[in-house]
Amino acid sequence: MTADLLRVLSLWRGRAGWLLAGMAMACGAVLAGLALLGLAGRGVAEGVTQAAVFTGGAAALIWLRPVIILRPLLRYLERLVTHAATFRALADTRIWFFRRLAERLPAGLGFRRAGDLLGRLVSDIDALDRVYLGALVPGVAGVAAVLAIALILGAIDPALAALVALPLALALLLPPLLAPGAAAAGQRVAESQGALRAVVVDPLTGIEDTLAAGAEPRASARVAREGVALAEAQRALARRGAWGGAAGALLGQAAMLGALGYGLAMGEAGVAAAVLGLFLATAAGEALGLMPRAGAALAAAGASARRLFEAADQAPPVAEPTTPAAMPKGHAIRIRDLQFAWTKDGPPVFEGLDLDVPEGARIALLGPSGIGKSTLASLLLKLAAPQSGSITLGGADLATLPADAVRARIACLTQDARLFDDSIEANLRIGRPEAEEGALWQALDRAGIGEVVRSLPEGLATRCGEAGARFSGGQARRLVLARALLSEAPVLILDEPAAGLDPETERAFLETLGEATAGRSVILIVHRLVGVERPTRILRLAAGRAMPAMG
């Protein structure tokens, strides 16, 4: 846990200035609180007794005035600065996590539950704020308070300082002492929440299938079950928090009792010091009141950090070359004796595949579903690496080229290509960010969707909805096709570009394919040929190899 939390802090290095300023404000506010009660106590004691023991007491009431202003002001600034610092740090963490996932899970979520992952980023990162707000800030302020009390009382009598400061110091130590125990409970809460979110997301994502199967009662029962599990986990965590809170309150009281006991034991000689100690302990009790709960906060943050790093630390599917080769000029693809299986003991997808895609060629790749046509695309795009054999791009071994540079050369329309919940224009510009509007329309026309978009009142600004939900299946497919056509990569892989299109649109698109992809290499992955594709070669995948075939 400690290692994870330290790693979180190292992610926040860039915001050290803000974070330290927040802690400084917190120390100032706590010391002002000590001054307030200390001065007031002295003033009253001096007033009612007029005793010589309270030398300097007369000044107390005068000093009180600026402190009255200073204390609320510092508290306000403390909260403002610490929160501003936290949000900045958390925003950094969010982006770091997204980048890491793009690097480590480029092929998508796969078995990881999308709902769970959302929970990871949003709530786990938010839970990290407790490292700083719930533990570091009150901890540092608490240390300042205890040190100040120890110094002030120590100057009068070290015995009194020990009586008051030791229980308070113990209260400060509670969080690190309680944290490991609470960590397990905190992890269970975070896991239960992720599980709950996942069982909510899954049936809602496939809502039509859920309703069609009449599976609502079962989905609801599952949500209820995860809800009960979450409540149990929360109860366990809260119980720890409550005991910690009780222990902290008792230690604060022990400090007060220590001061009083000192007074009783020392008699008249110790009166002034005892009164001062009592009021300082009262003030410190307020400052340290939140500390015991910091244990639970720290534990929950530790659990969140663990889950966050677990997802972020997956090995990337294809390691980047340590010394990348220079990008070759050409973009001819040559595959020799390729062996590949998705899992070690899984069925092989390719067994000695040979394939050539010369520059400007248009290859049609046929074969039944599940034969590995899409796997070939993954290998070319470096989303997976072959077990043996070679793939070269323009003569350079693909393994020696950086993935990003390869993807700049090879664009792909995958079967699961997605529209994002954004405007049509923004979705198209993913293919070519700097494209002019004319180019956008050209791509739309080529994909056979230009007319539809023109008829929309908001045109290119129309929002697509999640996964293109605002369009029919065929329309959404043509939009992602337009996006792929916009890309300027010299090699284009089109995986079932016409799936879900009606025959007329399909035929019209394939007829213009030559014009749309002039000068580029195209790998067309299809179940069957319509007859208008005019490929330079037709290959059929079977038994892990590619054989020449007739349309």
Binding site: A45, F98, P106, D202, D421
Partner: protein
């Protein structure tokens, strides 16, 4: 503006309803809190006596110190008991609300345009936000009224002026909080909207991560995500800048009360103070006075958060669940007829169905053909009760179909959508979903009929192979076949298929068409399909364009 106010009213009504429901369960924790406050007053009295004794006024000693210690132990115990009672009170309410919200989301989900992430946040995060209202704010509010009255009353008994000072400070706290809280309430709603947007956006982009990576846009999206987070930060800070003012005003009032008491007892009454113990007692009461108020102020944020959450939950909970008649029994044969049916999704776009009329008899298969966007899927969605027609009549065996509750309507049909969703679980579980009480043999028969077995037997774990959310691990065509197996297993009089062979290669398509023909035999079937092979193989073809029927032809024509 009026809509916003209505939303606010609905949110208040929801919170009030929940507060009333929780009242019975909150009596115990509030009572325990009051007991703690009384113990605090008693401790202050004993400590004041002790200090006065030290200063030479009175003779309190070690026994009093022991009493203070004993009271501290009791108070700590009460605190633990209170915490438990609060937690128990919140759990029941949360479970009930969560079930309610999820149920309604399922009922209206086919029409809900919000992202799945946003809707999931309603079930998970918003419900948790309501818990804070029930278990923190409500009891804190009760204690913040009763506590200061008790404390100020105790001070009155000793010194009327001190009592007045404390009472005034306590009364000013809610005033200061109300003044600063009004702006914060509005800001809080905005902040929730921003948080949701960020959640929805992240889930959307995570799902499409491969697309972003392949187009090398992950870096640009990371930056966009950063801007969204920055926006969220600014909104949140705007809320907090105001919200923190209320706690700062409380600190100022606490400091002011201490100063006033110190000056009254130290400087004004001074050396000939009539009641030195009382003076110290009054001063020690200040922390006791502000402890419940501080808890209230901290809980006030919970109330703001809960209000924001309630504003989003209320419209959903107010929505009447779509009612309708129940189906007495599933008939063996169904005649489907559409007469002049109209449906518009979006008023700014042409209608999806524009006066469509047709009829399908039992044992007949109708293939819906036409360009994408012609309205083929809409017909199936209407028959599934995902949507209600805007006009016209849909009847089943002569009865108006819209009178049936949507869930009842769906009992008649097996449906395979365009993008069949596989749930997390094994292939077998995904098929059995259609009829959980089916035997293993029946599931396997359905898997065979839909040609699932063909590919499943090449997998090491066969039908027990795990598939991820969204069917990860299987190709599009394989997922489609699993969905068709569901239809076989379901065994209903009405079969509705949306592009069942779109992702299949010609060989598999022929196989699946063969199974589909068997599936449709003796049932009423509507199949939306572009595929010429499907149109040839399955039956009568209805050409649709622009939401209207163009004409019919028989299979093979």
């Amino acid at each position: 503006m009026t809509r916003a106010r209505q939303g606010g009213d609905a949110a208040s009504a929801l919170l009030q309803r929940e507060a009333r429901a929780a009242r019975g369960r909150l009596g115990l924790p509030v009572g325990l809190g009051l007991a703690q406050i009384l113990i605090g007053i008693a401790q202050a009295w004993l400590v004041a006596g002790l200090i006065a004794g030290l200063l030479g006024f009175g003779a309190a000693g070690w026994p009093a110190l022991g009493a203070v210690a004993a009271l501290a132990l009791v108070s700590a115990g009460l605190g633990v008991a209170q915490e438990r009672a609060l937690l128990a009170a919140g759990e029941a309410a949360k479970a009930r609300l969560r079930a309610d919200v999820f149920h309604r989301l399922l009922a209206q989900a086919a029409e809900d345009s919000r992202s799945v992430g946003e809707r999931a946040a309603l079930v998970v995060d918003r419900i948790e936000a309501l818990e804070g209202f029930l278990t923190r704010w409500l009891p804190a509010a009760a204690l913040a009224i009763a506590g200061p009255i008790l404390v100020a009353g105790a001070a009155f008994a000793v010194d009327a002026t001190s009592g007045a000072i404390l009472l005034a400070a306590a009364l000013l706290v809610p005033v200061a909080m109300a003044v600063t809280g009004i702006g914060a309430a509005q800001a809080s709603r905005r902040q929730f909207a921003a948080l949701d947007l960020l959640s929805g956006r992240f889930l959307d982009r995570m799902r499409g991560l491969p697309t972003l990576v392949l187009f090398r846009r992950q870096e640009a999206e990371a930056e966009a995500l950063g801007r969204a987070a920055e926006d969220l930060r600014q909104r949140t800070m705007r809320v907090l800048r105001v919200a923190f003012l209320s706690s700062a005003s409380m600190e100022a009032l606490a400091a002011g009360a201490i100063a006033c008491l110190a000056i009254r007892h130290g400087a004004v009454l001074g050396q000939n103070h009539p009641d030195p113990a009382g003076a110290i007692f009054c001063l020690l009461l200040v922390p006791a006075l502000f402890t419940p108020l501080r808890a209230f102020s901290q809980a006030y944020h919970e109330r703001l958060a809960a209000r924001g959450a309630a504003a989003e939950l209320a419209p959903l909970l107010e929505n009447e669940a779509p009612g309708g008649l129940k189906l007495e029994e599933v008939p063996d044969r169904v005649v489907v007829s559409f007469r002049d049916v109209r449906l518009t999704y979006d008023p700014s776009r042409p209608p999806a169905l524009d006066g469509l009329t047709f009829r399908v008899l039992p044992g007949e298969t109708l293939v819906l053909a036409g360009p994408s966007g012609a309205g083929k899927s809409s017909i199936l969605r209407l028959l599934m009760g995902f949507r209600r027609p805007d006009a016209g009549r849909i009847s089943l065996n002569g009865q108006d179909a819209t009178l049936l509750a949507p869930a009842e309507l769906r009992r008649l049909s097996s449906y395979v959508g365009q993008r069949a969703h596989l749930f997390r679980g094994t292939i077998r579980e995904n098929i059995a979903l259609a009829r959980p009480e089916a035997t293993e043999a029946e599931v396997e028969a359905a898997a065979t009929a839909a040609r699932v077995t063909d590919f499943a037997k090449t997998l090491p774990q066969g039908l027990e192979t795990q598939v991820g959310e969204g069917g990860f691990g299987l190709s599009g065509g394989q997922a489609q076949r699993v969905a068709i197996a569901r239809a076989f297993l379901r065994d209903t009089p009405l079969v509705l298929l949306d592009e069942p062979t779109a992702h299949l290669d010609p060989g598999t398509e022929a196989d699946v068409l063969d199974s589909l023909r068997r599936l449709c035999t003796g049932r009423t079937a509507l199949i939306a399909s572009h595929s010429r092979a499907a149109q040839r193989a399955l039956g009568r073809v209805l050409e649709i364009e622009g939401g209207r029927a163009l004409g019919q032809r028989m299979a093979g024509e």
